[in-house]
């Protein structure tokens, strides 16, 4: 099984850049002190970390705009039309949409709380991009390999609803306020079943590290098969977490205009649009990591490609759901979360405990 060694590669790249190019250049110029500084290990590590961050972001960003393209194109096909057609296969439509927003005027409503209003997109986008750093793409392509990786991911995931509440309040608009309130109401309804489903995974694998979880699945079986109930609960929960139809209540377009983001225009809107798909990608990635064997697959394709392929397939299912289902109501999402998903998740935990206790795995 092949995999791209991100850290090793970046280390080599940094060494080459610092030692063989810049260091040699300054040595040749006679600036030995500066050359020594550039060739020091500390600076090398910092540069390497930066480069890794940039690489992870670039891959995430490419996946992100591909997902937007995938959604628009596939949704178009589900609706019996062609979808976007700017550029090859319509891929450049998102780029045009994104670039355009940077030319737009920035409007801050007169009565808005300006500080919070400006802070919210930063927090929303920042925390969502941060998610990319917690998700490994393969055994060697990761940014952080924390022992508590799963916990870290969900801790970062859960910030956004509060940011939405803040943004809805700061915009000083009634629609955004209701949208923000809905985000807060929604989070208490699906987070608990979601975490219970994760707990079952942790019980079986005995680890919170993505690498270990995937290694366990490679050794035994994809967790989606024994924990099928948990998988379904988790998938529904992650749709709600990523705020996609049918659980996109905070941005319900039918009744709340554009939901909590009504007052955000220009590049803030463009970046927030992008961020929604970062969260969608992160959700798909977590589903793949926890239940669908991560980068497990036949070895003729690199692990990273397997991982991304699975993530795109999971996202395609999300698009399919979006094409088929209407939006549920606020009280209905609460009753779904507490009356349906929570018992199912509890049953799933029992199944996991039973499997562990009986020594099946």
């Amino acid at each position: 099984m092949t995999s791209i060694d991100l850290w090793g590669g970046m280390d080599a790249l940094t060494n080459w850049l610092m030692d063989d190019v810049l260091g040699a250049l300054f040595n040749w110029l006679g600036l030995h002190g500066l050359a020594d500084f550039l060739m020091s290990d500390t600076l090398g590590t910092v540069i390497m970390l930066l480069l890794i961050g940039i690489f992870v972001f670039i891959v995430g960003f490419l996946v992100d705009i591909t997902m937007i393209w995938q959604e628009r194109k596939m949704l178009g096909r589900l609706m019996d039309r062609r979808g976007t057609m700017v550029g090859p296969l319509g891929y450049f439509q998102n780029i045009a949409d994104g670039l355009k927003t940077f030319l737009k005027e920035t409007i801050i409503p007169e009565n808005a709380d300006e500080g919070v209003f400006n802070l919210v997109p930063v927090l929303y986008i920042g925390t969502s991009v941060l998610l990319l750093g917690t998700l490994p793409l393969s055994t060697q392509w990761y940014m952080s390999n924390s022992e508590l990786g799963v916990l870290l991911t969900f801790a970062i995931f859960c910030i956004a609803p509060f940011v939405i509440l803040l943004g809805g309040w700061a915009s000083n608009n009634k629609y955004t306020l209701i949208g923000g309130m809905r985000a807060a109401a929604q989070i208490i309804s699906y987070e608990i079943p979601l975490f219970l489903a994760v707990v079952s995974v942790i019980i079986l694998t005995g680890s919170m590290n993505y690498g270990d979880i995937v290694a366990w699945q490679q050794a035994n079986v994809w967790l989606g098969i024994p924990l099928i109930i948990g998988f379904i609960v988790f998938f529904i929960g992650i749709i709600a977490e990523a705020e996609r139809v049918p659980f996109d209540l905070p941005e319900a377009e039918a009744e709340l205009v554009e939901g909590w983001g009504t007052e955000y225009g220009g590049f803030r809107f463009g970046l927030m649009m992008l961020t929604d798909y970062f969260r969608g990608y992160a959700g798909c990635a977590v589903v793949v990591l926890l239940f669908l064997g991560g980068w497990d697959g036949p070895g003729f394709i690199p692990e990273e490609i397997w991982f991304l392929l699975k993530a795109f397939i999971v996202f395609a299912v999300m698009i399919w759901v979006r094409g088929a289902l209407p939006r549920v109501r606020t009280d209905q999402i609460l009753s779904i979360g507490w009356k349906r998903l929570l018992p199912l998740a509890a049953i799933n935990v029992f199944i996991a405990i039973a499997l562990k206790a009986l020594g099946v795995f």
């Binding site: 589900l78 209701i178 088929a324």
Partner: protein
């Protein structure tokens, strides 16, 4: 959270037209509501007093753009009642066919509109796709996609062709298959049912008292259809029955409209079979007599009525339009109060908004 008033409109994705629903919300629950209309008021009734009788037909088309044919039809019926004209038999059948085609097209527009209201865009595109077929039929019948100017005082403008009738039958066969697709998408979908069932109850007594007509009334279990109870044209001779649902909720209103589309297909088939040969138009007098004329008919949205007063000249003295949605909208607070904010679009979408006829 304190109670607050929200303006849903004039620019709001829920409106489907141009009006403003002011709602008072307590958290997510609507406690009070008040529709504000008049954003499309153009003085239609005043302007037609300055037009001759035939000139008003295209104006009547633009009363409601969702179902333009039925409005020019009811106008011609009212003027024929005033002039005491008898329309040739074939023209009556053609009018009924066009009427039912318009009803299907209008209901498809409604079906398209409720999709985004409930948060699903697919049904919008499916319904619009089939609506194009009916637009094509109208286009080959009278040359326009939406505002047809087809019916005339004393008949219709032109006869149908055999090719058109063949296309019509083919389209109806195709459409019936597609109806199954919509029902798969909506009726067999748990979330759609969850959003519609038991929502916005409107009891039969309330509906009758508030003057609600059309599918919304039949969705409350009242078997009233102008086509049956005050038959015009040739509905008496055709094999059909009104579609009634007893549940009083949004889902019942949805079912009534879906059934009506099927019923319209049945009516058109029957009318095509029974249609006689003959002329399609008689020449109307230029000057209407003094007196009044009144016609009611079943618009896709309910009972439409036109009341025309002639004063012996070539222009009407007064032409009053009873718009079905105008009255149904006045019943909106009864349905909306007490529901959640998220349900407001689906309730309002389910009574089939058309503001052109409401504001006139």
């Amino acid at each position: 959270m304190a109670k607050m008033w929200i303006n849903m409109g004039p620019q709001h994705p829920m409106t489907h037209g141009l009006w403003n629903l002011r709602i008072e919300v307590d958290g997510e629950t609507v406690t009070n509501s008040e529709p504000v209309i008049g954003y499309l008021h153009r003085g239609w009734e005043k302007m037609v007093e300055d037009r001759t009788y035939p000139q008003i037909i295209p104006m009547a088309d633009r009363l409601c753009y969702g179902s333009s044919y039925t409005w020019s039809h009811v106008y011609c019926l009212a003027v024929e009642d005033l002039m005491e004209l008898e329309v040739p038999e074939r023209a009556k059948y053609i009018r009924v066919i066009a009427d039912e085609l318009q009803r299907i097209a209008s209901h498809l527009m409604w079906l398209a509109a409720i999709g985004p209201d409930l948060g699903n865009l697919t049904i919008f595109l499916y319904a619009m796709r089939e609506r194009e077929l009916f637009m094509d039929l109208f286009q080959s019948l009278c040359g326009a996609r939406m505002t047809y100017n087809y019916t005339r005082i004393g008949g219709v403008r032109n006869d149908t062709t055999p090719e058109w009738e063949r296309d019509l039958v083919r389209t109806l066969d195709f459409f019936e298959k597609r109806m199954v697709e919509y029902e798969d998408l909506v009726d067999r979908n748990v979330v759609f049912r969850m959003r519609m069932e038991g929502l916005a109850p409107l009891s039969a007594a309330d509906a009758i008292n508030l003057g609600v007509t059309g599918p919304s009334l039949r969705g409350s279990g009242v078997d009233f259809d102008v086509r049956q109870d005050d038959p015009y044209e040739v509905y008496e001779n055709l094999d059909w029955h009104p579609c009634v649902q007893p549940d009083c909720d949004v889902y019942a209103r949805y079912r009534v409209r879906m059934d009506e589309m099927r019923m319209s297909v049945q009516i058109i088939r029957d009318a095509l079979k029974k249609m006689p040969k003959g002329p399609v138009r008689v020449k109307p007098p230029r000057y209407a007599p003094e007196g009044t004329g009144m016609a009611r008919m079943e618009d896709p949205r309910g009972e439409s009525l036109m009341y025309v007063i002639g004063d012996g000249t070539e222009k009407p003295f007064r032409l009053k339009v009873r718009s079905p949605f105008f009255v149904t909208l006045s019943a909106a607070p009864v349905m909306v109060n007490g529901c959640k904010v998220a349900d407001v679009p689906s309730i309002m979408g389910m009574i089939d908004v058309c503001m052109g006829e409401t504001d006139r």
